[in-house]
Amino acid sequence: MKNFQVAIIGGGVIGSAIARELSKYKLNIAVFEMGSDVASGTSKANSGVVHSGINSPHSSLKARFCVEGNKMFQSLADELGFPLQWVGKYIIAKNEGEINELEHLKKTGMDNSVSGLEMKGGSEVKKKEPNVSCVKALWVPTAGITLPYEFTIALAENAAENNVRFFLETKVTGLKKQQNHFLIKTNNGDFQAEVVVNAAGLNCREVVSMVEEPDFQVYLCRGEYLVLDKNYSSLINSMIYPVPVKELGVLGVHITPTIEGNILLGPSAEFIDDPYDKRTTKETMNNLIQEAKEIIPSLPDKAVINAYSGIRCKLALPESGGWADYRIEESKNMPGFINLLGVESPGLTAAPAIAKEIIKMISRLIELKEKNSFKSRIHGRKRFSELSTEEQLNLIKEDERWGRIVCRCEHVTEAEVIEALSNPIGAKTISSVKYRCRAGMGRCQGGFCTQHIVRIMGEYFNMDVTDIKLKSPNSNLFYGRTRGDQSD
């Protein structure tokens, strides 16, 4: 049986941020992730927004960690090399009646020490955002965008580079306190740990119930998104948000530019029962376009290249306003069992600050000694399409695979695919390539490059390509060989 000092359940953005922060200390750390890669749940399926901290009341953990996290992002992006742009956000009032809400948000923001908040008139907004119509808007310059999966992957991979063990496709099935350690049962064997961190996201209640009776309920609120073709990237420059939907405790359907030039519409908000029900629906797809058109009337109808959904982990029902604060606490009955409950939006922004808080909590349980060997990843992934001619030429000279374009829509080279496959956490699905180097994310949605990625994976791992999975343990791409090929 493998012994660890700290076991983290869940390889989402929270689990990965904690793992990376802990990897600065002399500790044996394990992360158990049931998916085939990190960021396989809500962490990859959200707006990718680095929030400023204007939406949560002053005394809340949501406000505190959001504001603290926001301030940590730039240096993290510099250290880890994930993309980040401070594009700012307009929250718009579509009519006079909504202006009050803008004032309220501004006040909350100022209470939370968010700087730079400014009310702008409709014509002033029009100058910056010619396609947006509103009577007034709150300008939030400290809001930014990132790629949530790249952020999570960068945290996890840097943790792995600093000796955190990632166990993928490993679902925790049982948890038991035994004297001074926990026994962790998984589908991949049993493990021991002194401290267990429950960062299981949507499954946080399931994990708690393995050791004690949970004193809370989780309410799942699905949000669907549409992704628009890069051809329409010039529609907006900043994020455009409506005033929040108070009844549901959500921010409402907003229009978000992405780092890569696509535009996101969403998310919707629908309470559901099944944490794995990440479907998209016709009705919501139509609604998203309608609601986005209320903000940008010139939005084209046929611009969608993809749709997805993510699920919010809420601790409050819509009947009670849909808003509840995070619960980040050590179990009272079970010392060493640290729970992160209801970490929904702005969880992505809050992740780095939450990780610091967890370190403090763990330091009260285990003596933490910083290690000298910690290596912060100072280089990001190289993207052929973003490099200068000279850099491109140098890379091709070094390795001719930089001169072979595999994904024609996003101009991803074979070298980038290989780099994605050689990731230090051992993720090896088609999706793990896609989320690391963007191959398959363009307008043809993998039509041209899937066959090349399959071939490259077969060669790189020296594996039978018919064993390749799309994104999870049972998402096999193929059903064996053709008839003519069965003889060999």
Binding site: V304, E390, H411, R443, C444, Q445, N474, F478
Partner: protein, 425 residues
């Protein structure tokens, strides 16, 4: 400063550069060479020539052109041999990143970056397949969803089975051919679903690929949802009304592990778009004149990036003309700009290519009907004057219609718009 050897951009120049080495690009390059272009460069991003043809192992290629029915690889081989004999400068595994208004092309391959200054460019980038999101099919996002062409590549080029129990949406030719191909490989093809009241592929393919193998064709049906958290588990099909809206209550679950999409093809014109070449919103390809010249002087277009063809035979014929024009570099600019006549689709016609007539004389028009009709009449009208009236035995959107017409100089000087219509007899 002298740059160190090996890390500079490689400069070339050429009379004609053809972008894309599929059947259109090959035909255009060969024809350009035969028409007198001295230095012809053919660029392709794949490691092979022939484009999609190597995976089209069924026959029927070349019948109209040569009278012999060939498979895709055989047809491609014929052209590849010709291109090799013609001393065409072929660069494989070379991706064009962009070209500018002065026709300077930037391309990349394993040897480095290339700048190619071209007197004329022929666009032959082909097309891509529509995805589930082009028609907004909701549901889960499991494995087992393939466009028909991708499934065809896996089966025919890699000997891999994309699935066992298959539903196909869309009765375009690729979908029909894949239904039969999967059946040959022992898969269970549960049906082809088509939203229109008629099949959108060639009638011969409906008979030879579906009827001969008892594969059901669900007309006036569509797929409303895909279910399956990891691998496809089922799709929901439903009937549609005349306006193509789903009739509620007609939904049916079909258990399957694979969902193939054959929804049609989209011309690939990112390169043309980026340089500001006008794109016809209906064909999805560049607006061209009768010499296949786009709105950017010296840049020509052919093949499936111009319009999606039904057969490679017609495609190759047009591509040869485009290659010839490029070699002779018949640019609009050299003619009197005042005499430009636009050709527009009228009643019963979805589109017409070319969209511009820049010179009087004999012009070959290709067009598609909006819906299937028996015995109809094709009219070409210049203002109130009928230039051409031709009886057709039938008109089917799946079959491109070609017609030759003589445009006299006086028509061009008096008319700015020609209209092409299909009417009843």
């Amino acid at each position: 400063m002298v740059e160190p050897e090996g890390i500079k951009v490689i400069d070339h120049s050429a009379d004609v550069v053809v972008i894309g080495g599929g059947p259109a690009g090959l035909a255009a390059a060969i024809s350009a060479k035969e028409s007198g272009a001295e230095h012809v460069v053919l660029l392709d991003r794949n490691s092979w020539l022939g484009g999609i043809l190597p995976q089209c192992i069924h026959d029927g290629f070349g019948v109209e052109e040569t009278g012999t029915s060939m498979t895709g690889p055989e047809y491609a081989e014929k052209y590849i041999e010709m291109a090799e004999k013609q001393d065409i400068d072929i660069m494989k595994e070379t991706m064009v990143l962009q070209f500018d208004k002065r026709r300077e092309i930037t391309a990349v391959n394993k040897n480095g970056l290339h700048k190619i200054k071209a007197s004329a460019i022929v666009l032959a980038m082909g097309c891509r397949e529509k995805t589930r999101w082009n028609v907004m099919i909701p549901g889960d996002r499991p494995s087992g969803i393939y466009t028909a062409g991708v499934a065809q590549a896996f089966i025919n080029l890699y000997n891999i089975m994309p699935g066992k129990n298959v539903i196909i949406l869309g009765s375009g030719d690729v979908g029909l051919i894949m239904a039969r191909r999967l059946k040959f490989e022992g898969a269970n093809v549960l049906g082809v679903v088509e939203i229109l009241p008629y099949a959108s592929g060639l009638p011969r393919n409906v008979v030879q690929c579906l009827e001969d193998y008892d594969i059901p064709l669900f007309l006036n049906h569509t797929v409303t949802c895909i279910n399956g958290k990891e691998r496809v588990e089922q799709v929901i099909i439903a009937q549609v009304d005349k306006k193509m809206n789903v009739i509620s209550g007609t939904e049916k679950k079909i258990e399957c592990d694979t969902f193939l999409l054959s929804l049609g093809l989209i011309p690939e014109n990112e390169l043309a778009n980026n340089v500001g070449i006008e794109i016809d919103s209906i064909t999805g390809g560049p607006t061209v004149n009768q010499y296949f010249e786009t709105t950017l002087s010296g840049v020509f277009a052919c093949g499936n990036c111009l319009q999606v063809y039904d057969t490679v035979d017609v495609l190759a014929t047009d591509a040869k003309n485009a290659g010839k024009s490029a070699a002779k570099n018949l640019t609009i600019q050299k003619k009197d700009k005042k005499i430009i006549t636009k050709v527009a689709p009228g009643r019963g016609v979805r589109y017409v290519v070319p969209q511009i007539i820049s010179e009087p004389g004999k012009v070959h028009l290709t067009l598609r009907a909006e819906k299937p009709r028996e015995s109809s009449v094709l009219h070409v009208i210049a203002d109130d004057k009928e230039l051409l009236k031709k009886r057709l035995l039938w008109a089917n959107p799946a079959n491109m219609i070609g017609v030759d017409i003589d445009i006299p100089l006086e028509v061009m000087t008096t008319t700015q718009n020609l209209e092409v219509m299909l009417g009843d007899c």
